[in-house]
């Protein structure tokens, strides 16, 4: 009986979340948030995340190039080190790791801030002054997330490839042309699009989950902490699950498109 009740509650939560996302987009399309609110969020989500994303992208590139070099040099395949770094960063590690950093730094703060506002009646106070919290609090964060996460992902990929280049050329003594030359030949526009689509989906998912968890928090300080933890964990799990399905479906789609054109 308890399982049935908990499953029912889960379905209600999913329904509420879907309705929340739909309302968020309807609010954005009805009336865009004020530029000053958007600018504040673009700065907070984008500019203030640069340091953590730089570190993530650069260190991943270093590790990837090091591993690739040691795995490949005795097989005579050291020339694909650059290509491996670029492909892996562009299609998988760039979008996923940047999204993870985004959730840890931005998502957690979004949930904690909105949940605190909710339990201290600041959201109710906003409504009492005839200001829609969806437009004032959620829309700027959602738009900023959708703009900034793909940009941060591109930035992270560039730094990753640069990190890979530094270690491969400066430390392992690879010729710069050996590192760079295969990249424009084998990296296709599709690789860029796969990374871009993933980062867009991860942004949508992370911001909406974190805002939803924040705006539906009730109780006190303990519940704010619980909501924040739940939001972050849920985002990580959803990113990992969706990453697999996106990789699979986008590659299948790509094969079908190629076959269709042939």
């Amino acid at each position: 009986m308890q399982t049935v009740v908990s499953q029912f509650k889960f379905l209600i939560s999913v329904g509420e979340y879907v309705s929340f996302v739909a309302t968020s987009f309807a609010t954005i399309f009805r009336r865009l948030p004020r530029w000053s609110l958007l600018r504040e969020q673009l700065y907070s989500i984008g500019v203030l995340s640069l340091s953590v994303v730089s570190l993530t992208g650069f260190s991943t590139g270093l590790v990837l190039a090091t591993q690739s070099y040691y795995q490949l040099y005795n097989k005579g395949l050291v020339g694909v080190t650059g290509l491996m770094v670029a492909k892996a960063m562009l299609t998988e590690l760039g979008p996923v790791l940047t999204a993870f950093m985004f959730v840890g730094r931005i998502g957690a703060s979004i949930t904690a801030e909105l949940a605190t506002m909710k339990v201290t009646e600041q959201v109710d106070a906003m409504i009492s002054m005839a200001v829609d919290p969806q437009r004032y609090l959620v829309s700027p964060r959602l738009i900023s997330g959708l703009i900034m996460l793909p940009l941060l992902t591109v930035y992270s990929v560039v730094l990753g490839v640069f990190g890979g280049y530094l270690i491969a050329v400066q430390f392992f003594g690879l010729a710069p042309t050996t590192f760079w030359d295969p990249i424009p030949i084998y990296v296709e526009p599709f690789d860029f699009w796969i990374g871009f689509i993933k980062s867009l989906v991860f942004a949508l998912l992370s911001v909406t989950i974190c805002c939803f968890k924040g705006m539906t928090t009730t109780g006190g300080a303990k519940d704010v902490g619980e909501s924040t933890t739940k939001a972050v964990v849920l985002c990580y799990v959803m990113i990992l699950i969706l990453n697999f399905f996106l990789t699979l479906s986008l590659n299948v789609m790509r094969s079908e498109i190629i076959r269709w054109f042939q």
Binding site: E121, Q122, D124, S128, M129, A130, V131, D132, Y136
Partner: protein, 258 residues
């Protein structure tokens, strides 16, 4: 006019409002008293449209708040101001930004359009009225409980709403600050000439400001009467109130009638 008719509301099977009926006339200070958990704050949330009843009507100026959603609800709330129990000031904004929030968002004051350059002047005037001039640039975190409540009052009265709702305005305050808040409630009512609903369990303040008092118990209004008649009732809760003030009815109208 505010009218609640046969309002029912329950939370997790616990009935909080059981067919509540209430009428508040224009221009009066109406105080709702009752024990903690009797449903006083729930009534305010229904009036703000923040909660919807399972049954019944919540009418403000011929509009049923139970049937208003989205932008129609926000349009209606433009006439309403609410002072929350803990102030509910926005932590991320300064006092001046808090007080000027409504004016900045809507560009309207007392139903008339204003120019944005005048917001600073209105904010200053409003803070002066509540005795908080000079703290414009402070953040709510650095204010005392009484200052937060006064800032919250300033945030509401700055846009001259037709209806002002106070949720436990003197709870947790010392008697001197409570008296200051009571004076402010009456002063705002006299200035705005709107309708004021105060939810409280502070009988001293209630008697000092109220035109009419209602007692809520078990989710229903038990007694509605002007202060003098209210205190004459033999209801057990009113007997406790009488004991608390030592039968001193000279408190009645102390603030309201000057």
């Amino acid at each position: 006019m505010i009218r609640m008719k046969n309002v029912h509301k329950s939370f997790n099977g616990n009935k909080v409002l059981r067919g509540l009926n209430l009428e508040i006339e224009d221009g009066e200070i109406f105080v709702l008293v009752g024990k903690s958990g009797s449903g006083k704050s729930v009534i305010l949330k229904h009036l703000m449209g923040l909660m919807k009843p399972e049954e019944g009507e919540v009418i403000i100026d011929n509009d049923d708040m139970t049937k208003l959603f989205g932008y129609k609800l926000y349009e209606k709330l433009m006439d309403v101001g609410m002072i929350f129990q803990m102030g509910a000031l926005f932590d991320s904004m300064t006092v001046a930004q808090n007080v000027g929030f409504y004016l900045k968002e809507h560009g309207i004051r007392g139903g008339k359009k204003i120019v944005k350059s005048d917001i600073k002047k209105y904010v200053s005037e409003s803070l002066e009225k509540v005795g908080l001039k000079g703290i414009e640039e402070l953040y709510p975190g650095s204010l005392s409980g009484g200052m937060r409540k006064r800032a919250s009052i300033a945030r509401c009265v700055v846009y001259k709403p037709k209806y002002l709702f106070y949720d436990e305005p003197t709870t947790g305050l010392d008697p001197v600050t409570s008296q200051t808040i009571a004076k402010l409630i009456v002063a705002q009512q006299n200035e705005l000439q709107g309708t004021t609903l105060v939810v409280s369990h502070d009988i001293v303040t209630t008697l000092a400001i109220a035109d009419r008092i209602a007692l809520i118990e078990e989710g229903k209004i038990e007694i509605v009467a002007p202060p003098k008649e209210f205190m004459k009732h033999k209801h057990p809760t009113i007997t406790v109130f009488n004991e608390m003030i030592g039968g001193d009815l000279s408190l009645i109208g102390k603030q309201r009638n000057g």
